[in-house]
Amino acid sequence: MLASLWNYLGVLPFFAFIIAFLIFPATNLFAGAFQDAKGNFTLVNIQGLFSPYILKAYRTSLEVSLITSVSGGVLGFFVAYAITMGAAPRWVRSSLLTFSGLAANFGGVPLAFAFIATMGRTGFVTAILKSICYSAADASQVCPFDPYKAGFSLYSTVGLAVTYTYFQFPLMVLVITPAIEGLKREWREAAENLGASAWQYWWLIGFPVLLPSILGATLLLFGSAFGAYATAQALTGGSILLVTIVIGQQIRGDVLGDTNLGYALALGMVVVMAFCIALYALLDRRASRWLRR
């Protein structure tokens, strides 16, 4: 008994650290969400979350996260499928995986800078697209591919989505590749042996087996976009009001006019994230049971 207590002493520093700098600050914040300025219990802040301004912030955040998790997820899946099941040579496969590891970690301010230099008003790709012109019948210059004349802006939700996709789809490649590799050759052969066509194999076995992994990975992508702050801040200077941006403004100065409402905002954010990650963990468990990773 004494010996086992002694054992627990060995992990005390770790737990003390986590509690002091993660759990305590977080719960302290969440407690604030249920308090008024004087520290009395209230649900006003939670109700305040349903004000149009805050609802709009949540909607924008959810929109960006949804768009980028689906676009990044679809692109990432096909890339992962191409490099595992397709006839891609080995070096293509390993270099794409390496670059995915790199790009999935390339976020924050530098990523925003890279996209401003590439797709911004005077960016590299913008300039190339702008310069594709021809003379119309009335001798005026027509440039059909000018993205900013066509309504595109890097500093909009769409621009943000394009930028996020830079780290989203490589993340999908990294997460889903082991799952696709987990599809056993014997399943395909057994299905074929029993008379199934390639299509029947995919519809009845391949896709259902991969589905939990695909959904789980998409949720991970969703969470990764939902919690992002630095890229959006550096790209738009805070003009797109994501939940993270609003929280940032709240820390800097009292934009909501109510600190405790800011705490509620943060709590709402964590609830969404916790929901995503919990569902991801659930799906991942099922996937690993099927795929025996």
């Binding site: 399943w187 052969e189 057994a190 299905a191 029993l194 008379g195 199934a196 259902p208 087996v209 049971r289």
Partner: protein, 351 residues
Amino acid sequence: MAFLEISGVTKHFGPDAGAAVDDFSLSIERGEFISFLGPSGCGKTTTLRVVAGFEQASAGSVHINGVDVSSVPANRRNVGMVFQAYALFPNMTVAENVGFGLRVAGQPAALIQARVAVMLELIRLPDYARRYPHQLSGGQQQRVALARALAVQPQLLLLDEPLSALDAKIRIELRSEIRRIQQELKLTTIYVTHDQEEALSLSDRIVVMNMGRIEQVGTPFEIYNYPRTAFTASFVGHLNLLPVQVTDAATGACTFEGTPLASSQPAPNKQAGSARLAIRPEELVLNGTGANRLSGRVLSVNFLGNVVRLRVRVGAVELSVDMFNERKLVLPAVDAQVVLSFPAHACWLMD
């Protein structure tokens, strides 16, 4: 023409690679149980996969029931296959797995249900219909895989080392189960294995393979007792080899370190000179009355249960001697001098 006719099948993986299977020809009668036996990489699995349609042969043809299936895709050959790693579909229940072949063939649900019930009865797992593969043991999974392959009533059953991933005890149990089911359905079966015990106990005939080629085809009795090549002799069962000088090639007489020995067959190359005399450990008798006698010193005594294996040094070689265990058996002591004897018909000369 036999029911299954494999003629001249050759398989190269890539233009520069050597032959994985080299000119393989075999006729298999309806209802026969055939084993392909050999070390890993000998081409046995590749041959099986050519029959199943998963590999395209570089040369040669496969006829099933008189039909050339060489260009028929795997999903239209109606050949059942059981894989080494239980390849059950993880997203389906046992019943759905077993019914898969009928389902993709578009059979009505009622028929599928009835057939699945029959199959589960056959493999003695009638209560497992609603389980998922991950809830089953390895042995149970392999039974279900067998039922799944049989449910479509294939004209041919192929088993690719189906027991090698299982525990020893389950392996023996499932082995007799496979034989029982095969006999019950009178199903033509090819069984690939590297385990000689499995091949000997299950098969009507064994095909011993090495380096892509057939070494010998025969009944288990023939393969074990009358191996035609050195490879077969040493791969199937344990074999003692004595370096001898042939004195009379026609009668098979020879000498080992000066001791004259008699064998019943003529020397394979019909001339005098160096050769090897082969004899199985169980044919050597301690202090017996056989025509050939060799004396030696006991090096070790290993008790293996039903058999006791001695290592005996005779001149420059060590021989294995197997004795059947019995309660009254008197074991020789280590370092004891013993005389080994064996009859002339028990040994044969090899190059």
